[in-house]
């Protein structure tokens, strides 16, 4: 991958950060911190690696993405809209009655009796600690059918405090589910406090290694590092793979960065404008 390509993606990330904030500002609520920390991870995944087709969102050959940290969905929605999965207008309705895009991702349109699927949303999530099991199940299904599809599960650091997640880690390691790549958005904060001051995950890398996973560690805001890690993870056989992506919660907006206050609230007009200005001048 040449450096111009990375440069282009970096400007795209800047654009995404602004739209994420605008979307949350319009919605009046949401999770800016954990959305902003995800931007480079999702951008690299969707623009450089994912086998998918926004024009045919349910095609069988597609790779699957499970956003286990459902609260980071504004980042996913913004990218899906940019790629053409749905219109940008949908972003304006986020969290509103009758909207396609829910406060946490739902694969089915809510509020109607009809079973209709939302393009780009593979699994309904929002309650932490469940996405990895579902992702492992999808990967296992592909393996049973000798299919080449890859499953990407994007998890949060905080949800590693849920026991159910470790059931999936243990199973995937024991059964060598190697068409699965988990990416942990390790932004070091949970809703109320720092992870390390709540219940520390450390040593996280060693935990995964001891569960028979192959582990990569990257700067989760470096597109180049994420790209390299996914490239290697795609080729590595025999074990499930995890990319521990060290990120900054609220990345890109100085007053949101590393600040638990910005886990789950929308900015007011003044702070919204300030945030946009900051991103533009960065």
């Amino acid at each position: 991958m040449n450096s111009t390509k990375y440069e282009d993606l970096r400007s795209l990330c800047k654009k995404f950060r602004k739209i994420i904030l605008e979307t949350i500002y319009n919605a009046g609520s949401g999770h800016p911190g954990g959305s902003l920390s995800l931007v480079e991870i999702l951008t690299t995944l969707y623009y450089l690696h994912l086998n998918h087709n926004p024009k045919d969102p349910f095609c069988e050959e597609r790779d699957r993405v499970v956003l286990s940290k459902g609260h980071g969905c504004p980042a996913l929605y913004v990218i899906l809209a940019e790629l053409g999965y749905f219109s940008n207008d949908e972003l304006k309705n986020l969290r509103k009655v009758g909207a396609m895009l829910q406060g946490h991702p739902s694969r089915i349109y809510n509020g109607t009796d009809e079973i209709k699927f939302v393009p780009g949303i593979e699994v309904s999530t929002g309650s932490l600690g469940y996405g990895l099991s579902v992702g492992v199940g999808i990967a296992l299904g592909f393996k049973m059918d000798n299919k080449k599809n890859i499953v990407y599960v994007i998890s949060s650091d905080g949800e590693h405090q849920e026991g159910s997640l470790w059931e999936a880690v243990m199973f995937a390691g024991a059964k060598k589910i190697d068409n699965l790549i988990e990416i942990i958005d390790y932004n070091k904060l949970q809703q109320e406090n720092k992870i390390e001051d709540t219940v520390s995950l450390e040593p996280l890398k060693e935990k995964y290694l001891s569960f028979n996973w192959h582990v990569y560690e990257v700067d989760g805001h470096s597109i180049e590092e994420i790209d390299n890690a996914i490239n290697q993870a795609k080729i590595f056989k025999g074990k499930p793979k995890v990319i521990v992506a060290h990120t900054i919660k609220g990345k890109g907006v100085s007053f949101m960065e590393n600040n638990v206050d910005w886990h789950g609230k929308a900015p007011n007009e003044e702070l919204f404008k300030k945030a946009i200005e900051e991103i533009e001048n960065s």
Partner: protein, 318 residues
């Protein structure tokens, strides 16, 4: 006379059904949690080892895996003890199975007090309540092994979540093999005009025994096998109410939230009338032989008889 065809646990119907379904559905995947010999899922595992997954003692993961598999076209059947499937995995079942509208079959065995000697930790008496409350879920409580088998087979006609509740203990088999079975359509086992008895699972046989004795004493009961708790057969409930003027519901479950409550919900909005309940009253069970426990916790035919008599007396006073 009630015709008893056999005496075996309803859980055996699961294994028998899956062995047949495995032929028809190459995408059927059995998922167990270290209990497959006792759930009878082992029968499927033996015949189709490549389509069986034992997740170990990790029920939450079993449900999550099932959802993932269903999203790529498999039809997973998760089976373990009801306590650990419905109980421990309630949130996974809500968030991952029902909210995703996943085509996952949950077949829970060892439900109710008839689990016996293992004691209250294993005797779930709350699962009907917590499963039927979930949107998108179908809930079936078969009366015996034959009905269990046909219920498991019919659950494959539904492209969505189904919960089937089975028992550990040997039970009289009172339904024919391959008897007509429509999910959501109750079976009228006996006609009568004085009291309607609506039952499910283990209690269907007890209700028939009670009705036979009552008949001799001059009280005629209409006996309904309400094998599907959700969607419940509203028409048969209203029809029974109109014919009989009072209804007794019988279940091996807490009185709160189960079959009795489901029937009450229909009656109160469509045809309010006298109702009473046979079930467990806000208690945990204990260790003991299944039949002795049914006696102690007032789930036997004699308890049904007593309550029917009181209901009929009340009805006649009104």
């Amino acid at each position: 006379m009630i015709k008893i065809l056999d005496n075996k646990p309803s859980r055996e119907g699961l294994g028998e059904a899956l062995v047949e379904l495995g032929e028809i559905y190459p995408n059927l995947i059995g998922i167990g949690a270290d209990t497959s010999q006792s759930t009878s899922l082992g029968k499927f595992a033996k015949k189709y080892p490549d389509r069986f997954i034992n997740v170990g003692i990790a029920e939450q993961n079993a449900v999550g895996l099932a959802v993932g598999l269903s999203l790529v076209g498999k039809i997973p059947v998760v089976s373990t003890y009801a306590m650990f499937l419905a109980g421990r995995c309630w949130e996974e079942i809500r968030q991952s199975v029902c909210y995703n509208y996943a085509n996952v079959k949950l077949v829970a065995t060892h439900a109710g007090i008839t689990v016996g000697p293992d004691g209250a930790s294993h005797q779930i008496l709350e699962d009907i309540a917590i499963m039927r409350v979930l949107p998108n879920m179908t809930v079936i409580v078969p009366a015996d092994a034959n009905e269990a088998k046909v219920a498991v087979k019919k659950s494959f006609d539904i492209e969505g979540p189904v919960y089937i509740r089975l028992s550990r203990e040997k039970l009289p088999v009172i339904t024919q093999e391959n008897e007509d079975f429509v999910i959501g359509k109750a079976k009228i086992l006996k006609e009568g005009k004085d009291c309607g008895i609506i039952s499910c699972g283990v209690m269907v046989y007890e209700s028939l025994v009670a009705a036979e004795i009552l008949e001799k004493e001059g009280i005629s009961c209409r006996v309904i096998n309400m094998h599907t708790i959700k969607p419940i057969d509203e028409e048969v409930i209203v029809d029974t109410a109109k014919r009989c003027g009072c209804i007794l519901t019988c279940e091996e479950h807490q009185i709160s939230g189960g079959l009795g409550s489901s029937v009450s919900e229909v009656l109160i909005s469509r045809y309010p009338l006298l109702q009473d309940f046979v079930g467990v009253g806000n208690k945990f069970g204990e260790s003991g032989n299944a039949q002795e426990l049914m006696k102690k916790y007032e789930l036997k035919a004699e308890n049904i008889i007593e309550k029917v008599k009181k209901l009929v007396e009340k009805k006649n006073k009104v």
